[in-house]
Amino acid sequence: MLLAVRNFVRIRILFPLRLLTLVLLSAGMVSSSRTPASSQQPSTGSPTSVPAGASQAATAGSAVSVSSAQLQQTGLNIVVLDPAHGGTDPGARGSGGIRESDIVLDLAAQVRRALEAQGFQVVQTRQGNENPSFDDRSATANAQRGAVFVTLHISSTGLPGTVRVYVNSALPTVTDSNGLIPWERAQAPFLGLSRKFGDLIQGMLVQRFKGSPEVAQTAAVRQLRTTAAPAIAVEISSVAVQDRAEIDRMAPGVADAIARGVAAFKPSYVIPAGPGARP
């Protein structure tokens, strides 16, 4: 009887689902093969600067317009901090009721103070318990000139007391004749800088948090992909600790390492000549 029910489920529900998968897949193939073509037609009509173009492009959900000529003139003076999750999305949750979204907000405040003490201007993607979309957060970063982006996370796994820095996986760089980068791959021209930035901060972190890796890791982090700036994710281990105080005790060290890492990265902050070029 149970078998019959299971078969019924398989036949009546899973079979159409599989057909749906095929249809979705072919649709996905078609749309992905169209992406480079659509990036050839900038939605804003002409190459626009990051502050104006990026936020418009983000809300339109199409292409980020980054003019490399304008970026070249600026040095690093802004740090965009992204406390991950928030609102209805608590992120990682520990058995002791620890919520990632709460901790990263407090952590961001500490990192902010450390960065401001070093003379940097700080922009946050969220101030309270709200949950902007990935694109909204990237738009906040892409609207700044001379900025780096740091997204803050607490993991579910890993050795408690360690911190990992992540850089986005390689993305094929596609630019059109106007030098515009598609929004979907805004991180591509910045990967080399992100790697340098990530390694510097991971180097600062490993001095304080033994057991952490010595160089930044590579991962396909969604938040980093649409960010047109040197961008890293910092993930602290972990929500599995019994007492939240264990993570809170790490916060000053993490904040200090990030602030010193950003200061050390400042001289290297030379934006590539063209969006396709890598340092």
């Binding site: 019959a4 078969n7 398989r10 036949i11 899973l14 079979f15 689902l17 599989r18 749906l20 998968t21 095929l22 979705l24 897949l25 996905g28 193939m29 992905s32 093969s33 992406t35 480079p36 991950a84 999750h85 999305d89 992120g91 990682a92 949750r93 990632e100 990935f134 996370h153 607490i154 993991s155 579910s156 796994t157 890993g158 050795l159 990992r164 992540y166 996986s169 390689a170 993305l171 094929p172 596609v174 979907e184 990967l191 790697r195 890796p213 010595e214 160089v215 890791q217 590579t218 991962a219 396909a220 982090v221 969604r222 938040q223 992909r225 994710a233 993930e235 281990s237 972990s238």
Partner: protein, 231 residues
């Protein structure tokens, strides 16, 4: 008609009715059984189409590398070699290795994928792009975080890389849908590079390796999150 004949006729009719009354249920049972048999064979055929692929003992036993967690460092993967009878067909072979990976290692702590996750479908397109459709449990039961999500995808990618050379890229779907992330962090909108070198593929297909929208790792293929292992 004489009364004697009338009695015989009525007697004959009564016998016929009694015989029919006895035979009818038997006949009905036979018709039912026949119908059930037919239905069963249809069901059997459908079940064979949708059933998770079981290992066929007739296939040649080959050394299969499965990537599970390490017992010394829970952020790295360690290949475990087991001998499994694997099909030569790349789709069947992929299903067999992924189902074995999902079934998990002997030590449950070394799992990289949730125990309730199921592989619903697996397709291989002519250009070497594979599509693996997992049940929702893969996204909902996995511990949220960059490290844990990366480890899960990496174990799938590297297990396919080690055992199915025909798979060049992998697209992961959840319950037939394309997801933005696995569980809030890891990007599932692109494809993951499995084998960068095409194997037994005609030269015309090689250009497909640079298909747009692919997420390619910076270093070696299939090592998206391979953390540096320090002595």
């Amino acid at each position: 008609m004489t009364p004697r004949w009338r009695v015989r006729l009525i007697g004959g009719l009564i016998i016929a009715v009694v015989a029919a009354a006895i035979y009818f249920p038997i006949l009905r049972r036979r018709v039912k059984r026949a119908a059930r048999l037919q239905q069963q064979s249809e069901e059997q055929a459908r079940r064979e189409l949708t059933q998770p692929v079981v290992i066929n003992p007739g296939d040649p036993r080959v050394k299969t590398k499965l990537f599970w967690g390490s017992d010394t460092d829970d952020s790295t993967l360690v290949p475990v070699t087991v001998e499994l009878p694997l099909s030569n067909d790349p789709v069947l072979r992929s299903k067999q290795v992924l189902n074995t990976l999902l079934a998990g290692p002997v030590d449950a702590d070394l799992r990289t994928l949730p125990p309730d996750a199921v592989l619903l479908a697996f397709y291989l397109l002519p250009d070497g792009t594979a599509v693996a459709d997992f049940s929702e449990a893969l996204a909902t039961s996995i511990p949220s975080g960059i490290a844990s999500e990366q480890l899960a995808v990496d174990s799938i990618v590297r297990t396919l890389e080690a055992n199915v050379p025909q798979v060049q890229r992998l697209k992961i779907l959840i319950h037939g849908q394309e997801m933005e992330t696995l569980a809030g962090h890891l990007d599932l909108t692109g494809t993951f590079v499995v084998n960068s070198k095409p194997v037994q593929v005609p030269p015309s297909d090689k250009t497909a390796a640079a298909a747009p929208g692919t997420l390619t790792p910076e270093k070696a293929p299939g090592k998206l999150a391979q953390p540096e292992r320090k002595p």
